[in-house]
């Protein structure tokens, strides 16, 4: 705005002393060249500052002068100042009214301490999650004894939100998975002339493993994150505290409606994903193996045993339970700062997807051992 002359220095090296003549505007936007000059300056043992040429100064100018002066003194120089104006000394006295004590940066603790702390924190986290589950179940039994407390309306709303509204994205994901599996199998099976086995391939892999998994991952990403963010936001605005003081238990009002809604809707979503996924496979089978829809369905009736379909469906409530509980638990962990809501939402989705995959692996081992 004002056309000030940038700060400048004239350094006069006299036999016994260094004279530093300062002039121009020593304000933040005009300081750059001077800082550089002062950093490289190696003065005599006696330094004389002449400040009379300075037209204006702000705190960065004062700080630069003070910093350089201190450096010279540490190098054993004697420093003196002439020509300072009232404005300079005013500002100097304001900024350096009391000596500012050095505050050392806090040391980062040793790796052993950090390892211990993190381990302790993880164990504590598991403990907290278990006590969260425990409290939830106590309240579940309590509500079962008093069925009027069950929030049917809320469960319904969550079924619409997490179920019906999720249909388009689940349809697209399942269809594409069907297409991908069919493509990969067609190429391999054609080598053996065993094109017809594409039906077994698609039917069993989709209903038993892929459709439940894809559905769970989509739901974890879509509804799990939403649960954490909703509850986290309520925690930040103290709505949860308000509910507690009014006697509305957050488990009855917030946790169980979400968990139950997801557990009810998940098997249905998996069934839907089965249908769309198999349709995706059928489309590829027809275009690449000339296997008509009727032939495909006829073959499917023989190839797909009921147990595969049922195993896939039964996984649904388990996955839903894990996703809903982890995400609501993470929601309650959100603290009063804005950053934590993002952090816990991320954690919630990562945890939920991991638990779903771990649970799926457990199912696989268990069912194989049971020879199903």
């Amino acid at each position: 705005m004002q056309s000030a002359i940038p700060a400048s220095l004239i350094i006069i090296e006299e036999p016994s002393r260094t004279l530093i003549k300062c002039s121009g505007a020593w304000s933040i936007e005009h300081l750059f060249s001077v800082t550089h000059q002062l950093e490289t300056l190696q003065p005599h043992t006696y330094v004389l500052w002449d400040l009379s040429g300075i037209s204006s100064i702000d705190s960065s100018g004062v700080a630069l002068w003070q910093l350089t002066n201190r450096k010279f003194k540490e190098q054993g120089c004697t420093c003196e100042t002439i020509g300072e104006q009232q404005e300079h000394s005013h500002l100097y006295r304001l900024l350096y009214s009391n000596p500012i004590p050095e505050a050392p940066a806090p040391l980062s603790p040793s790796w052993l301490y950090q390892l211990g702390r993190e381990t302790h924190r993880s164990l504590l986290g598991i403990g907290n999650f278990l006590s969260f589950l425990g409290e939830a179940f106590i309240l579940l039994f309590y509500t079962l004894k008093h069925p009027s407390l069950i929030r049917y309306r809320s469960i319904g709303a969550h079924i619409v939100e997490t179920g019906a509204r999720a249909l388009p994205i689940i349809a697209i994901s399942a269809f594409l998975i069907g297409v991908v599996v069919a493509y990969q199998s067609v190429v391999q099976l054609q080598k053996f002339g065993a094109d017809i086995f594409i039906v077994d391939m698609i039917g069993i892999s989709l209903t038993r493993e892929l459709a439940p998994l894809i559905t769970a991952i989509v739901v974890a990403g879509r509804s799990g994150s939403a649960f954490t963010a909703q509850i986290g936001a309520m925690k930040m605005t103290q709505e949860i505290d308000a509910m507690k003081t009014m006697g509305f238990d957050p488990f009855i009002f917030l946790v169980w409606p979400r968990v139950l809604a997801l557990m009810i809707i998940m098997p249905l979503l998996i069934f839907f994903a089965d249908m769309v996924g198999i349709f995706g496979g059928m489309v590829i089978a027809q275009t690449h193996s000339h296997l008509s829809f009727t032939e495909f369905i006829h073959r499917l009736q023989g190839a797909l045993a009921l147990k595969h379909y049922l195993i896939g469906i039964i996984k649904g409530p388990f996955f839903a339970f894990l996703i809903a509980f982890v995400s609501t638990y993470r929601g309650f962990q959100v603290s009063m700062n804005t950053e934590s809501i993002g952090r816990y939402t991320t954690k919630s989705v990562v945890n939920a997807i991991f638990l779903v995959i771990a649970c799926d692996a457990l199912f696989s081992i268990l069912l194989t051992e049971l020879a199903l």
Binding site: I28, T35, L67, L95, P106, M336, N337
Partner: protein, 251 residues
């Protein structure tokens, strides 16, 4: 030295159907502590947000430091934004950065100062607002309400602005901290030659440090002037706001 720093003329603001300001005018002069006063929902915060380019009025003009805000080029706007500091009601410190980093951000983005000098300046600003030196390493979530306000003030002062906007600087502070904060603001005005515009409804602040203010109410600017001048005006909102006749301030 009675330069006009901010000149608001006939500002009309409406959010949808909801009229907030109906032809409001006020003037802020150089080196004064100026307050925007009014009850909740009187549009005082909105008026300040219009001054700092966060909102736009429907009609009317606002001049800040001689620039008409409605005809600013992006470059002028950037320059103007660097010449003021803003303290938001809740501090608005970046929660992922420490207090020191919050202040350093401005130096690193806008200046070419050496890291050493930046470090010295951060120490100065932290000291200036009355925070202990180790506050530099703390995250906003580790600070109390009063400390957050001070840290946010340090950040607002980073680039040595000539103009300081404070949104309810003393709200949420205990009475003692509020008075200390008032004193701090007054000192900064006197020593750094700042012009300060604040939104407040703290009557003590108005009594002790504010030079002139505008009282907003019923979508209008009801009164402008010093406390004595405004108290002399007969208006139900003035009476209500300063509780004239019952208890409260008399002059």
């Amino acid at each position: 030295m009675n330069h006009t720093i901010i000149d608001v003329r006939n500002v009309v603001t409406a959010f949808g159907e909801n009229l907030i300001h109906d032809h409001i005018s006020c003037t802020v002069r150089e080196n004064e502590i100026y307050a925007l006063l009014g009850g909740s929902g009187s549009g005082k915060s909105t008026l300040m947000r219009e001054m700092i380019l966060l909102e736009r009025p429907q009609s009317g003009t606002i001049h800040v430091l001689g620039h008409d805000l409605s005809t600013l080029t992006p470059l002028e706007a950037a320059g103007l934004r660097r010449s003021w500091g803003v303290l938001f009601q809740s501090g608005a410190l970046y929660s992922s950065l420490t207090v020191g980093e919050n202040i350093a951000l401005l130096y690193n983005e806008y200046t070419d100062l050496s890291p050493k000098l930046v470090d010295e300046l951060i120490r100065l600003k932290i000291n200036l607002v009355g925070l202990p030196p180790h506050a530099k390493y703390l995250y906003p979530s580790q600070l109390s309400g009063g400390m957050i306000k001070r840290a946010a003030l340090a950040r607002a002062l980073a680039l040595d602005p000539k103009l300081l906007f404070l949104d309810e600087p003393t709200s949420g502070l205990d009475p003692l901290s509020s008075r200390q904060f008032d004193t701090l603001i007054q000192q900064l005005r006197d020593l750094l030659g700042l012009t300060i515009i604040m939104v407040t409804h703290d009557l003590d602040t108005i009594h002790h440090i504010v030079d002139r203010f505008t009282l907003l109410g019923e979508k209008k600017a009801i009164a402008e002037g010093s406390l004595e001048e405004v108290l002399a005006i007969e208006h139900p909102i003035v009476d209500y706001f300063f509780q004239k006749g019952s208890y409260g301030i008399t002059c």
